[in-house]
Symmetry: D2
Subunit: 142 residues, 4 copies
Amino acid sequence: MSGINKVILVGHLGKDPEVRHLDGGVTVASFPLATSETYNKDGKRIEQTEWHNIVLWRGLAEVASKYLQKGKLVYIEGKLRTRSFEDREKVKKYVTEVVAENFTILGRKSDFENTPVTSENATPKAETDYLDSADTNGDLPF
Amino acid sequence: MSGINKVILVGHLGKDPEVRHLDGGVTVASFPLATSETYNKDGKRIEQTEWHNIVLWRGLAEVASKYLQKGKLVYIEGKLRTRSFEDREKVKKYVTEVVAENFTILGRKSDFENTPVTSENATPKAETDYLDSADTNGDLPF
Amino acid sequence: MSGINKVILVGHLGKDPEVRHLDGGVTVASFPLATSETYNKDGKRIEQTEWHNIVLWRGLAEVASKYLQKGKLVYIEGKLRTRSFEDREKVKKYVTEVVAENFTILGRKSDFENTPVTSENATPKAETDYLDSADTNGDLPF
Amino acid sequence: MSGINKVILVGHLGKDPEVRHLDGGVTVASFPLATSETYNKDGKRIEQTEWHNIVLWRGLAEVASKYLQKGKLVYIEGKLRTRSFEDREKVKKYVTEVVAENFTILGRKSDFENTPVTSENATPKAETDYLDSADTNGDLPF
DNA sequence: TTTT
DNA sequence: TTTT
């Protein structure tokens, strides 16, 4: 009972998010994310890249489709989920995805330039988690 | 711009949560949490304990006051916040606290026994984060 | 360049670790880990379990094979890695695994009882990370 | 027994690292790190910054003093530690610090330009954690 | 005291 | 398929 299933990634989008609208009006977005680590081996710099399938639902999917593009650097928090599906030849296959619960754009200023600050582009659902505590940090004498 | 401030703890409560109701009806709970690590030094087992000040707001505070008691093992996710206050001698002091955004009780089954499952003891706010994705894991062919 | 690929799990082992010794003397261990989350849906308690393939290398594999058994509750920290392999019919397949970098047994005291403290059962490699700072927390006046 | 005490931060250095060499030749480095979060309140963009005291020991301290400077964006992983000390008036005080166990520079290319890749500037101790698994990802048929 |  |  009661476990923890948490993934934390910082990496670059390999493609623009692909958005779908399911029956019932639910929005889903997905994109590949690359996390690379670099290390020295015998004095040579070696880079190793891992690719992750990121999936976002509903409000997060919509925010992602607006603000994330191929190449951008993002912090993503989510959980692992392995699903099965049938490929075109009706063979059962498995994929493991990271279902995002939260994300934050990192990186250069230019990455934020097309992110106008109006009351319309609502705070990403992820950020609203913070609102609760953010507006309540009064100075109580614990 | 845009940073990450995340704390992940697994430890035991040092005391029962202390609950307060602020003006305006906001609930705050707090308790000390011990995380200990054990390591071998010269063949001897050494245990080192660190104490953390945990603070919870609103709905989370209420769930905590119901289900958490001294001694229980919990997973807590939150963020660091340092605040200043004046002590009795009007000296300015600082405390660093972990503002919880999420928690899960770990440990023995008996720890859950007094946690009846009715529609009344609402899902902790933290857990509702999961609901979004949990009820939408249909089998879309990405 | 420079990414983060981190997984944090708390769950129960589905089986005893399976240990292999590769050519060259490298030890690898692996086991399935279940993380379950419980939430209320329409007043009913619903439990959803996710299974993860955990892989451990070298020293960590050896410590795991000694101290971890089916049913135990563990905290695992690691990274995601997707590899391809050929199944018996020579079909290329993919699996995503969590390569553990660290683990800690959680749970009941009885779970630790068969963990004698001698200088022989070396500190898990994971725990040695902590040693560095643990033995140097003198009281320097920063 | 057996807890988890983990901090994950992404933020900018407020100052260059300050390095000290203790008696016995141990190196310690420290610097303030700012993590800011931005959220909408009544249609206005509000930024809230939290400052953290980062401390690094030994090898990590040396790598930090070489590659980190005021203003850089870093990912830091570590643990919380609260210590007491006496201020100039002999009053006992407490500080909570993040003892880094790992860090990665994020951000612009220009941030890496003064990071020549030679066999001399050794892999940060943190990164060596990855080496173990990185050079062993052979294709075993689990 | 950082960054956008 | 990203980035440096």
